[in-house]
Amino acid sequence: MLISFGLGSYLVILFLVNKISYYISPSYFGFNLVMGILLIAFSLNSFRHFSHDGNHHEDDHGAGHEHEGIKKISQASTLASTSVYIILFLSIILIPARPLSSATASSRSLNIAALVTTGADVNPLLQRDTKTLKLSDWVKIFNFTPDLASYVGKPVIITGFIFPSPEAATDKNNFFVGKFVITCCAVDAAPLGIEIKNTKSDSTSWLAEFKYDDWVKVEGVWELVNVGTEHKLVLVASNISAISRPENPYEQ
């Protein structure tokens, strides 16, 4: 009963402190909250039954030796599972909720997510003022526009966290700014990101002022870089400022 009560309470508390968004997609918030409340309700309601009826789980129908073995297995598995639960709760209580880090962002395939790889609505984006485009809009454009050169010099304003250059980078010394996008929960999180030129116009580097996992707002313009036969857009930032981590860290 403690387990269902504990897990139910955890679900509800996460919701109340606004940390539930670190773990699952908003489309599940309502369902999770309702189930968390039900878990608490069932746990409390079951208390009466458990305190009155100590023998509820034993097989009372004529004690048999054949049930001894089952009881022993049951006791052993109760001990094992209690240990697992203790470990779970220690992790929940001692380790603060954190969204996925820059280490995972740079180790997963970049810019591959249903949000940005299905092309139906790229055209309206091409008509808009580029300063209004968000991270996922730019990634869609990268994925579907053959002529990236037309974007050189266009202004960009995006927010996200800093992560190390993945394989797809034009220059390993640069860094990326982006967010994860999730479909179901953090396990399927896919990183979206834009490459930022690390060297400033005065030859100092942005990474001297900021570090990986910092949340920032970046303003700048695009520069075209040739990588073999491919063209890629890299952002030359005019200003990068620190921002606080948003309540929902995932791109919608």
Binding site: M35, H61, S109
Partner: protein, 323 residues
Amino acid sequence: MILFNLDPRISDTITIFLAIVIEAAPFVLLGVLVSRLLGMLVKGEWLVRALPKSPLLAHAVAALLGLAFPVCECGNVPVTRRLLIKGFSVSQAISFYLGAPILNFVVIISTISAFGNFPIIIAGRILGGLFIATVVGLLINYLPRGWKLLRADVAAELESGPQDCADEDCCECEHDHEHVNSARELLQKLRSSKFAAGVVQEFNSMTKYLLVGAAIAAVTQLWLPREFVFALSSNPLLATVAMMTLALIISVCSTVDAFVALAYVGRFSPAALLGFLLYGPMIDIKAIAMLHSVFKPRLVWLLVLLVTGLTLIITSLITALGF
């Protein structure tokens, strides 16, 4: 909260572990509730009589029962257990277990919504799912009689009758004593402390396995980066194996896995994506762990083998047809 300065990759593993548990636990509860309601509203005899006599049709119908009881794959295990108690054979229960996560309206609708432009994937998922669930059930049906397939406590429960028998005599008689006869009786039972206790017990029992499955899935993600899986994508067969491995590791709910697969449309062939969409709902790390709460390990691993083999056969066929 006490703060620990953890290595980010370990912190991410914990985040992923918690995310899987937070996502799945509500569905486990839903499955337990559906299973209990099933216990109270449906008489065992009806269900067993609803299955055709022919083994082939019986297993196909069992596979299609998910259309009537839509729960996520996590919620399926309690419902499968309930069907066994109601009189389904192990093989019929398995056909249901494999079929239900694909052959239900929510998943069919989300698959159509994601893959509207790829009818071969929609048809492949529905027909392939029905085929695999039916065939695996049939094969299990023909296993030698002496093989013990159920966990000892589940087998004992089947022998002794439904848990909520109030006294010894009850269990000897023919009636299905879980069944309720009126809406009033149903409401009374739902509010009872005994019902709550049953739900809590079954939920706790399932959650044990969910936790182990979630931990293994989270740690596997840490130590087996996705890029390794994608490096295999040069050859059509290996591409399918790569997508099936991804499905195995990430253990995403079948209600939305179509959108996860959609992200890979550019990189992988329809056959490989179909591999992901057939395999994931039936076999993944979380599900393998939870199946151990009902079936003996040898049966669980036999299931993994059979589903893997049949999925590869179907996807190879699709590749050979030119997709």
